[in-house]
Symmetry: C2
């Protein structure tokens, strides 16, 4: 029996945590099994002691079956068998915000990330917010200038967790003016799809490689595959970069983007198509 | 004899004013005739007393033939024949920064703007920086939220000077995170081309409706003509808006965009094409 990959859910940071309004976290818990969910929280990106505990309390409030924060702080923590056992039986894993370099330097190449990749391929759902969102894909933005036009050397990339090599995530997107740095990063290699996540907004990337937006703001999709030209290869260090032919979509709640066909659709378009189909019958 | 329209030169604000490095203003003076240029400065947007005088000094430094700032402050000032005479013999007019509503409310529908439109059609070159840039086209952005995803009601439009109805200008573009509001404005009617001007960067829009970028940063071109869908008509007041299929280019010094063919070209592409053509001969 072949198993389906689990959801990959990057969240733009600052997600709503009041139980009543917590659309994104509630949706993640539902996908992970609802009352039967076993959630593991990895607060490694954060330097605050109570980050893991805060998410534990939140998911307890949703009455999931089990929630456990693993305070992984060192690479040797990543070999603790009792903690790996939690990951082996989890139905959902949540990576908190903080610093994405703490995630990659602490977890990279350890049994924890090996297990996360393997289990996600078999169906484990993995979400991350802010630094956690940056970390989920194969390529990760470490840092870069905000609020600027694309420039050479304005953004630093690093290998990430590696759940998919098709997207490049940037978070706090509009709030911190990160269009320029995401465009610069995509100019290095237009193969990847740029996913700019506003705060309190998530991309639920399903096993079919279609992502659906959830949350109070928007996800900006940058599709560089039709790029006619960029001067990234020849621009001066810190010089501005020409980019010709970027395709852009802004998607809100319910909007979808198919990573294979590169087709974006707003929820109202899907509804209209549905009505048209009904009209045909 | 038919005459060519003069250049229309919106500048993103904060343009370099040290004579040695003042690429944009020097280029404008050159186009207006260099040593033979007769420049009129209109400082109406500004509330600072010395704005007009500062530009006078600058253009004097460039040794143009004549420069004169007209301190138009009221609608009746717009009927002063001696000032209109200056406009009748000018080869270049420069609109300073400040508040674009001061420009439209003071100058709109007066002999001054009638004369500017008529003389631009006959060859007078007109530049504006910041508020002055916002004002040059038929449609003008009055105000709007910065640093946000496109939302309904986030941007207010007003009729402007009306030198062209093909573009919608926004200035201080990347510095103030105005992509969202320009996208929102274009979603109202995808016919217009959005021109997002970074500071110290200008679009020199020639009589052939090809614009060329000059300055230290970039111009972001938003071409909404291929838009598949936007939810602007149905979005809640202040709700986020879906936008599917926006085309975007970032152009730096020497890059061009043709408003008719909607074709963007980086300067290096033009050079390569030139070399290829040489190779053919």
């Amino acid at each position: 029996m072949t198993k389906q990959r689990g959801f990959i859910v990057p969240i733009g940071g600052a997600e709503e945590k009041e139980i009543r309004d917590a659309k994104i976290l509630r949706k993640f818990a539902d996908i992970a099994g609802g009352r039967d969910a076993r959630i593991v929280v990895i607060p490694t990106a954060s330097q605050l002691e109570d980050t893991g505990r805060r998410y534990e309390k939140f998911f307890e409030g949703l009455r999931v079956r089990e929630v456990r924060a693993l305070r992984i702080e060192t690479r040797s923590d990543c070999e603790r068998e009792d903690w790996l056992d939690h990951l082996r039986t989890a139905t959902g894993v949540f990576l908190t915000g903080g610093d994405q370099l703490r995630l990659s330097t602490t977890l990279g190449g350890t049994p924890v990330t090996n297990l996360l990749r393997q289990r996600n391929a078999e169906g484990l759902h993995i979400a991350g917010t802010s630094a956690g969102a940056a970390f989920v894909a194969e390529h990760m933005i470490v840092s870069g200038d905000s609020g600027r036009t694309p420039r050479a050397d304005m953004v630093q990339l690093s290998p990430g967790l590696g759940l998919t090599n098709k997207i490049l995530v940037d978070q706090h997107f509009r709030q911190r003016g990160r269009l320029g740095r995401l465009m610069a990063a995509l100019s290095y290699n237009p193969r990847l799809i740029g996913i700019g996540l506003d705060e309190d907004t998530a991309a639920f990337l399903g096993p079919d490689d279609v992502l659906e937006v959830s949350g109070s703001s928007a996800v900006t999709i940058l599709d560089a595959s039709g790029l006619e030209y960029s001067s990234m290869h020849s621009a001066d260090k810190n010089g501005p970069v020409s980019v010709i032919g970027m395709r852009m979509h802004v998607l809100v709640e319910g909007g979808t983007f198919d990573l294979e066909t590169r087709q974006a659709r707003a929820v109202e378009q899907a509804e209209l198509a549905g009505e048209a189909a009904k009209g045909d019958s």
